[in-house]
């Protein structure tokens, strides 16, 4: 599993904050230009778009659904289950004769959704929490951050397993579980950043102008956090997907007949011995391509938004 570069993001955030004064608008324009110059990021964006299009468009291309069993193939997967145009199983079938093309498409949808929703929850919770802590400072900040410290010390994977085992498995539980784990780092970064922003003159002006706390937080501080939040979120998505794949391997993830990248890969890994290699390599290709893309996009965003770039 991967770890996210929070230190680097903090650095970038500081750079951004210092750069902020007076030049807020063109930063974004600059960033966009830099991002599109980054070949790797650009290609990744295209790849990702293609993957998304595939996952939603595939059902229209194939006659098979993701759960329908092809009875004529069922007993002889090794002989007839390979990818072929003739049988209309473009990616072959899984061990129960279900079309892999449709299943990969459906699995992609779920995995991407897990990634995005998980990251989204983390971002919302983490940003609000960190912004509030950083803004109010003092006692409130102390207590809030202590809580984060304590939560960070909990071996979260174990807790996630416990949650899934106790509350039963469902997509919702997975989102909740993943989201609960990942907002901690984000809140720390946001809090640090908020403290820097808080001391800027334009905040003082707003306070002097009579805006209340909520307005200041939502209208002034949070928009300025957008940069780091975006970057962190884009790095969080692949982490969510990887975690989900581990949970699926344990059998605690998505439920039949639905599937996900993680479930497909872990099933495929078991059949390598029986020479049904397509069952592993095709979903794995999607998995790797998807994660690669998120990596490069995240990196690209970070490089693009950091004004102190080399």
């Amino acid at each position: 599993m991967m770890v996210i570069g929070s230190k680097k993001i903090t650095q970038m955030a500081q750079n951004m904050a210092n750069y902020e004064q007076g030049k807020s608008h063109s930063l974004w324009v600059d960033a966009r230009r830099r991002f599109f110059k980054n070949k790797a990021a650009l290609i990744s964006l295209i790849v990702l778009t293609l993957i998304v299009i595939f996952s939603f468009g595939a059902p229209y291309v194939t006659p098979w659904s993701n759960e329908e069993i092809d009875w004529s193939i069922l007993g002889s997967i090794n002989e007839k289950g390979m990818p072929s145009i003739a049988s209309k199983h473009y990616f072959g079938t899984d061990d129960l004769g279900r079309d892999l093309f449709a299943r990969v498409a459906q699995g992609t949808q779920i995995s991407l959704m897990v990634g995005f929703v998980g990251a989204f929850i983390a971002v919302i919770v983490g940003t609000l929490y960190g912004a509030v802590a950083g803004y109010f400072g003092g006692r409130i900040d102390s207590v809030m951050m202590r809580i984060v410290d304590i939560l960070m010390s909990i071996p979260y994977m174990f807790v996630l397993i416990l949650l899934l085992v106790v509350f039963g498995r469902s997509i919702i539980m997975l989102f909740v579980g993943l989201g609960l784990i990942s907002w901690l780092d984000m809140s720390r970064i946001v809090r640090g950043q908020t403290m820097v922003i808080k001391n800027k003159e334009f905040i003082e002006a707003a306070i002097a102008g009579g805006s209340n706390h909520l307005t200041i937080i939502t209208r002034h501080i949070i928009p300025n956090l957008l940069g780091i939040v975006i970057v962190y979120a884009s790095l969080l998505v692949p982490l969510m997907i990887l975690t989900e794949s581990f949970i699926s391997f344990l059998g605690l993830g998505v439920q039949e007949p639905n599937t996900s990248w993680g479930a497909l890969i872990s099933d495929g890994a078991k059949t390598v011995l029986y020479e049904r290699l397509w069952q592993l390599f095709i979903p794995l290709a999607f998995f790797v391509a998807g994660l690669f893309s998120f990596f490069f996009i995240g990196d690209g965003l970070r490089d693009a938004l950091d004004p102190k770039d080399r």
Binding site: I69, L74, G75, N78, L96, Q255, E256
Partner: protein
Amino acid sequence: MKSITKILTAVLIGSTFLVAPVLAAKVPAGTNLTADQTFTYRVGDEHSSVDPQIVEDVSGSELVRDLFEGLLNQDALGNLIPGVAESWEASNGNQTYTFKLRKDAKWSNGDAVTANDFVYAWQRLADPETASAYAWYMEIMSLENAKAIIAGEKEPSELGVSAPDDYTLVVNLTAPLPYFAAMTTHASTFPSPQKVIEEFGNEWTRPENIVSNGAYVLTEHVPNERSVRERNTMYWNDAETVINKVTALVINEESTALTRYLAGELDRTEIPAGEYPRLKKEYPDQAISFPRLCSYYYSFNVSDSGPEAFKDERVRQALSYALDRNVVTEQVLKGGQFPAFTFTPGTTANFDAPDVAFGQITQAERDAKAKELMVEAGYGADNPLKFELLYNTNEDHKKVATVAAQMWKQKLGIEATLVNQEWKVFLEVRGKQDFDLARGGWCGDYNEASTFLDLMTTPSGYNDGKYSNAELDKLMTDAKTADDPSANYTRVEEIMAEEMPIIPVYHYTGVYMMSEGIIGSWPVKNVEQNWYSRDLYKVE
């Protein structure tokens, strides 16, 4: 495979059962044994315990059968042969059993095995202090006072078993039980060493403490990795034991186990579902499939908490008819399993499986009937039947359930949602009637049809669907005292085929890869698969 009933009928007249030839590894003349007599096999998970009165799982029982020895054993065909008991006789209308123990049986520390060891063990099994999950076995063995002792109302010393002298064991039952002797091959009834248990408490089963009376002693145990047992030179029949060392390796993933088998690290492993034909072709002398005394089925919840639809017999029949068992056994599992139209496997001793009506017609005819029934019951495209199919988390169960759900969907337009839970939750949920249709798998505790059919009686604690039929109850009660209960059993299966409280799916087979050295001595005809390492031998 012959009828225990026939033998026991003779016993009813009060005659003593003759001593059968003592058997351990019967090595055919002229066999070339290898120099290295070790047997290494895979288990899917760590066993629960090797304490005979505590053990509750299959891999644990395999260990216990090697480490300890009970009154009686089973030969390669599943027939009863003497163990620690040389002979036995039933009297008092099958309500009293007297066992005569051999005088040369010893524990691995040199102490003699006496009848008191059995009295101690059986009392211990029933004792609430032991908190054994198998205490109920004492109850179904019908020993006097068993029920009260388990409930804590009487002292364990009042159990209906006694040792008038060191080598005689007398058992008193509350009701006549013709097949009582067969029940003593079960691991829970094996003797345990009182002195050792009192000295070491819960730690008595550790390799450094354990004392056992079987053909092997436990020499190594690394939880979740391996356990090793080696020849017990004190065993009374040690001369006939061939295998010196048995190692059980814990390997969770079936495919990894197969990989390691092919790499030569194992002598035996399970063949994953669907792979048997291919492996049989490639390794004809190593892949093997044989019948086992177990039944795979789906239970309808017909209690009040169950779906309305399932109270309609036609719906239950339709679901059972539309399930294409041949697809399951020949295309999904491919291990030579037997499509099941009765609950009790046909290979059960003394059981005449009736030719139930729906088993006689073709699948196409069954499908047609199923459609009709559903329409009659009022379900169709405008009113689809919906329910949840519950099974415990496992690759193979998932496959069968997925296939079943698809069949029902395509043929009858039914929407069955698959729900899987891990074992503990599954048992709890199923036990509370919190399900619609749930998977079940039952292996016989002894080789007689009642071990299956008792589950369908109203008072049975394992009747999770809460099915109740007065005629069936009466037939099963009468069967316990009947001279020849097979007519009762046949009638019970017929009732079940009409009312369909469960959907029988298939009867198990044991599907294994076994190395060429060991496969010759494996007791493939013993459907209960009570195998003993002391009966095995390895050839060149």
